[in-house]
């Protein structure tokens, strides 16, 4: 068992012939991900990285039976690419693209609500199930298989946490970035429920940040009873209100979405909060010891 992807997942790369798409498709193939096809409108019928390229996602589904898509399409066209994948029946769509207008995501969420597809991201490093498959842009070698589920809103901070876990002798069941944008697909709550149901996951590391209410909702879920220990870190205690801190979603007002409030609620729910980002791995090791 693992979350959402395993070695059998048949992956299509939307935007595979571009620079980013090529680089990361190659890296996924080397990691062992079953990358079957690419989609670039206008380049259908050609081959790239020894895979067939199709003009449409629907054609890739018909020819290769792909069921997972990873999107590297530029921000202006990315929402369209996600909806095309959903319409073609792709079950899991991972959108790496950063910079998609929020109102485009309003349309995407409404479109997906009427279809069975699940979306991870946008503005996410993706998903990795160490040793089996990665559908994302994270560095594979820092991961190792094991019992800790990792869910986060950021990229390099997630790599940092994963690296610390691996250094502490703890592998990961799955590591998943929900994305740094204000409107994303899967939420912390969605992913926590999957980790709770996953027999391979024995503990969860949750990495949040200022802005929005995803961490608050996670706290409410955990407070209501969560069968596994959760270790939490929230970034942005020193961030000023009203300023966007890199991620489009990392902006808070003086009254809402502050790190202090998120920490308080998560702690009250029984989450083991780590104050220093340097102690995520060691704390997880102590909790699981």
């Amino acid at each position: 068992m693992s979350l959402l992807i395993d070695a059998a997942a048949r992956v299509v790369v939307q935007g595979m012939t571009g620079r980013e798409g090529t680089f990361h498709a190659q890296s996924m193939i080397e990691y062992g991900t079953n990358v079957r096809a690419g989609v670039t409108p206008g380049k259908g019928g050609t081959r790239h990285l020894d895979r067939p390229i199709f003009d449409t996602v629907a054609a890739a589904v018909r020819a290769e039976g792909v069921d997972v898509s990873i999107v590297f399409v530029p921000a202006k066209a990315a929402a369209d690419a996600v909806m095309e994948a959903a319409e073609a029946g792709i079950g899991l769509i991972v959108c790496i693209t950063e910079g998609i207008p929020a109102l485009d995501m309003v349309r995407v969420k409404a479109f997906l609500a009427e279809r069975p597809s699940r979306l991870v991201g946008p503005n996410t490093p993706g998903i990795i199930t160490p040793g089996r498959a990665k559908v994302g842009i994270m560095p594979g070698p820092i991961h190792k298989p094991g019992p800790v589920g990792v869910v986060s809103r950021s990229g390099t901070l997630t790599y940092e946490a994963v690296h610390q876990l691996t250094q502490s002798g703890l592998g990961q069941s799955t590591a998943l970035g929900i994305g740094g944008d204000p409107i994303v697909g899967l939420s912390f709550v969605d992913v926590l429920r999957m980790f709770e149901a996953d027999p391979e996951t024995r503990a969860v590391v949750l990495i949040g940040e200022i802005g929005g209410s995803g961490e608050e909702e996670a706290a409410a879920l955990i407070r209501g009873g969560f069968g596994k220990p959760v270790i939490g870190y929230i970034a942005g205690l020193t961030a000023p209100p009203g300023r966007r801190m890199g991620h489009a979603g990392a902006i808070m007002s003086a009254a809402q979405g502050t790190a202090a409030q998120k920490i308080e609620l998560l702690e009250a729910a029984g989450v083991r909060i780590v104050r220093s980002p340097a102690l995520i791995g060691r704390t997880a090791a102590a909790v699981l010891a």
């Binding site: 921000a75 929020a102 109102l103 560095p139 390099t156 790599y159 870190y233 961030a239």
Partner: protein, 391 residues
């Protein structure tokens, strides 16, 4: 992106929302002329990108053109300190001179994006003129929400419900329906992240007028709106933040003395927090991007070393897809080009980290290499103190 009140009012007027008659002025003579042509008592409003102007004395009502000129010379060219500007305030370079309204009631109308529902939401309240977030926490019953369906759009019955909730009747009710629909349309048409009329004035004769207006736009949507991008007022933005964003860096100035340069937004926030946890004060948020290109690092060094308040710099890089040895080479070249004159503490982790650390050590540059984040942060704080202590 933020714009001024007078710019927001021009945009909203285009969506059928009544705004007071007014003119934008930059001198006392222009203020006098504007007051003359408007006739009667007028209000002078400082145009800065911050709220809390009224309490801070940035909004003045005057009776005559001569008084308008006098008030304008007091406001113009001076910093205005409000609850939102910080102690240094913001320089007032323009005033909006408007007809004075006979206000019977102050209402609230705003449009925001609800992240949780992934919907546009219209917020209204019969109690205008106060901070809506505070009101929503203290008296939630006084804030009404209408969610906009992405499929059906904002519907007339929703506008009516909101208008009834504002306590309006008769012609004012009909006018509110038009105003509220226009507000939602303005939000959608401009890729806004906030449209707010606070207060929405109900005048003595029962007319609705946008006494104030605020619009913020989604930076990610600006590519669709070159006309809006042109409204950016460089005088309201920090020059170094603008320069950083042109170079593809994400930079926010804070008031501490420990600078930092980090790859990735989450890790950058975590690094700021760690500086504070180590007893120091972060001078900035600075994300050079996950890939850490040499150009980005050069720009970042330039920004940090041109800030006289920065007494040490903490570089925190997690090299994943980009190898640490390549990152180290880039840092060394950028530092040589920029001529670093503050202590630079580097913590690097990830792929090929040993090679990376060796390159830094062999460079002969004044780098202190630390193996982990905590010792690096402590060292950066210690060096900042040694270089002059907290300001």
């Amino acid at each position: 992106m933020r714009i001024h009140e007078f710019q927001a009012k021009r945009i909203l007027a285009g969506f059928g929302i009544p705004v007071p008659r007014g003119e934008v002025v930059a001198t006392a003579a222009e203020a006098r002329a504007a007051a003359e042509s408007l006739g009667g008592p007028v209000v002078l409003k400082a145009q800065i990108h911050a709220g809390g102007r009224g309490k801070a004395g940035g909004i003045l009502k005057v009776e005559t053109p001569a008084e308008a000129a006098a008030a304008a010379s007091r406001l113009l060219g001076q910093p205005l300190v409000t609850s939102q500007t910080g102690p240094q305030g913001r320089l007032v370079r323009r005033l909006l001179v408007e007809e004075s309204l006979a206000v019977a009631r102050e209402l609230y109308a705003g449009v925001v994006l609800s992240r949780r529902e992934a919907r546009i939401v219209l917020l209204t309240s019969p109690r205008g003129g106060v901070d809506i977030e505070t009101l929503a926490l203290s008296e939630p019953d006084l804030v009404l929400r209408q969610e906009v369906s992405p499929a059906a759009g904002f519907l007339p019955f929703q506008a009516r419900s909101a208008a009834f909730g504002l306590g309006l009747a008769g012609p004012s009710l009909d006018q509110a329906v038009t105003v509220l629909a226009g507000l939602v349309r303005a939000f959608e048409a401009t890729d806004a992240s906030l449209v707010e009329i606070n207060p929405l004035a109900l005048t003595a004769v029962g007319a609705l007028v946008a006494a104030d207006a605020k619009m913020d736009f989604d930076d990610n949507g600006l590519f669709r709106h070159p006309d809006l991008r042109a409204l950016l007022d460089p005088g309201e933005e920090s020059a170094e933040e603008l320069e950083a964003s042109r170079a593809g860096l994400s930079f926010v100035r804070l008031d501490g003395d420990v600078g930092c340069m980090v790859n990735g937004a989450g890790l950058a926030m975590a690094t700021m927090d760690l500086i504070a946890l180590s007893g120091g004060r972060p001078a900035n948020f600075l994300d050079v991007g996950g890939g850490v290109s040499e150009d980005a690092v050069r720009q970042a060094f330039n920004i940090l070393s041109s800030d006289p308040g920065v007494r040490s710099a903490l570089v925190n890089i997690f090299g994943g897809i980009v190898r640490c040895d390549l990152v180290a080479q880039g840092i060394v070249r950028a530092a040589r080009d920029c001529g670093i004159h503050i202590p630079v503490i580097i913590r690097m982790e990830g792929t090929n980290v040993e090679l990376g650390r060796k390159i830094l050590a062999d460079s002969g540059l004044p780098f202190t290499s630390e193996p982990d984040m905590e010792t690096a942060a402590r060292e950066a704080v210690r060096q900042a103190r040694a270089a002059g202590g907290p300001r």
